[in-house]
Symmetry: C2
Subunit: 349 residues, 2 copies
DNA sequence: AGGATTTGGTAAAACGTTTAATATTTGTCC
DNA sequence: GGACAAATATTAAACGTTTTACCAAATCCT
């Protein structure tokens, strides 16, 4: 593989000249410029970027630490990251923690998990990445990214402990509000809710969105209409029964899986989802498009999260101020995905 | 950020000594060894790997070119790649082509697609990756990886045009044979097939597996029992009707989506899948576990494909001979995933 | 014509490591 | 105490670039 020195020799000029020409710096005659360019082509000269990086003290690369590639949220976030990084010509170094393969459910309390992340950060820094994005599988407070890093870091789909490292997250209250408003616009005043695990940030925020819409529309909040699920299809199935007894006209399930469980239960009871009882989901998992009827849900802005996160980190490493909010959190909005599971029962005026 | 030179000065020794100690080479006294190690800790010395790479002419990194991160097969393959690469301490540089976002369905005929891939390969080589893995979204012949690359390359989930670059693919005939054998073991002699698009390698191989099992069990192959689908749920739905007229006892759908369509049709006709008619799928898409009844299917060895591909490429770049078969193709086996959609109708002996 | 300026080019240092060749210190033995 | 070997440490070159400082030739201006 030809080096710049060999190329220079072939052209009968100095390396400096070649370097200048290749980086289109001024100060070379058209003649030598052409000569060098042609010769570079002929020798199939490929610049050694690692030498360049060493000299320039820049790598135009950022480290991406993903908790687990096989969790549904992660690939889309990474897709967003690569989208923006390509545009800005940054290379990504991927680290896959394989968290859910390596650790039990309680992974996030384990010291060795922190150790692992610390090690991977160190490895990336040795490789002179200019920034780091940590991609969480679901929103929560992540304690393992120190806020004393000498390079910028950004959390995608999670919060940092101290709030010092910028985070980009889903606007869950907005998303929940949007679909709830859609429900009340379609005449649903008694909407049962199946929540996620109550310690989950997602579940808390979505509940706030629910309450917000109730309030804004002058509907009294009835705590009896909200029951606790745990994100699984089974919990959606089992909770649906008790909600149905309360004469709700619609169900808001805090994820698509539980909505699937609700469908199951209704089928059993001879009720038609989207006809007898409306149902709304959340997340836009691939499968919910295949429910019968297809589920109306809210689409998580995963791509945008990745896009925004890389935007932030690249701004930061170029010395520009982060334009995340004052609390360093950037919430990106969801898109309402209207399908067939919500019936309009509003009486016309 | 401290360099080795500063560290050396702080310790009052030469850089060479520090280097030797840090790489635990022999020839340093216990005393200085300890001193240096402690000082390194104290200064939080972080070696500059790009300098090291330049000197060593090695980067321990491999480039991964993924066609599209958001296609379901890709993340699992990448997970397999990272799994093995972590073990061997190779870093991965990720390139996401975003093929299905950027190009139409006919992307693979477009010149700019080839150009794009060529460019990305060049970029990776400039960064001195030691090997390249191309990750396809589904199996087909990939024409855009030249077989004259100066570094080893491997195709994951695809074939190279010339057969010169090693490929690791799914053993689709084996997978189809396995689930078919399961079907006949459960007494099904008349098994209808809904194929994928006939020009797909997947569809062709799976059909061979189907025929193989028929032959081995002395069942006559009836071409009337195989109808052409196009991988979509709709095609599964529409094809099911005509198969049902042929008095089949089971359906083998060449992917889970079409199996879902078959379920839909049976529901409509008042037939219970897994009871009145057995159905088998292929691919193990997440959603098929939620079908009612859960679909018996074959699980694609995506993780293993990634694992094997990185094994091959790392062997290759270390000068070991590739242990792919003589035709440079390594087919990795599938796992039968038994759930609830196949009924045993065999008469006991 | 001759000094000043512009144009086109070069030499060499630097980036942070590793390593081969060499130098220095320490220890052993008579 | 001196010779020799072994143990330990140092010097300097190298990896492939970029860039600063410098130089020579060509061009311009009066």
């Amino acid at each position: 593989m030809a080096t710049i020195k060999e190329l220079a020799k072939c052209c009968g000029v100095s390396v400096a000249t070649v370097s200048n020409i290749l980086n289109n710096k001024p100060g070379a005659s058209e003649k030598t410029r052409k000569l060098v360019l042609e010769m570079a082509e002929k020798l199939d000269y490929t610049p050694n970027v690692v030498a360049k990086n060493l000299k320039m003290q820049k790598t135009r690369s950022i480290g991406v630490i993903a908790e687990d590639m096989t969790i549904f949220s992660i690939p889309d976030i990474i897709d967003g990251i690569t989208d923006y990084c390509q545009e800005r010509d940054y290379q990504i170094l991927l680290t896959n923690l394989r968290l859910f393969k390596k650790y039990s459910d309680t992974y996030y309390n384990r010291d060795d998990y922190y150790g692992l992340v610390g090690l991977e950060i160190k490895k990336l820094m040795e490789k002179q990445v200019e920034g780091i994005i940590y991609v969480a599988a679901h929103e929560r407070i992540i304690r393992c990214i120190p806020d004393t890093l000498p390079i910028p870091a950004v959390m995608a789909y999670g919060y940092s402990k101290s709030g010092k490292v910028p985070s980009v997250v889903v606007d869950d209250v907005g998303g929940a509000a949007e679909i709830m408003q859609y429900l009340v616009d379609h005449g649903h005043k008694r909407v049962g809710v199946i929540t996620g695990k109550p310690d989950s940030l997602h579940a808390q925020a979505r509940l706030v969105g629910y309450q917000q819409v109730l309030f804004q529309n002058g509907i009294l909040y009835d705590p009896g209409l909200v029951v606790e699920g745990d994100w699984t299809r089974e919990s959606g199935y089992s909770r649906t029964g008790q909600l149905l007894e309360k004469e709700v006209t619609a169900l808001f399930c805090m994820n698509d899986l539980m909505a699937g469980g609700a469908y199951d239960r209704m089928d059993e009871l001879g009720l038609k989802p989207g006809e007898d009882i409306s149902v709304a989901g959340y997340d836009d998992r691939e499968l919910s498009g295949y429910y019968r009827p297809p589920l109306t849900t809210v689409s998580l802005p995963l791509h945008d999260i990745g896009h925004k996160a890389s935007e932030l980190v690249i701004d930061l490493l170029n010395g520009r101020e982060s334009e995340a909010g004052p609390d360093n959190v950037c919430a990106v909005g969801c898109r309402l995905l209207i399908r067939k599971s919500v019936k309009n029962i509003a009486v016309e005026a």
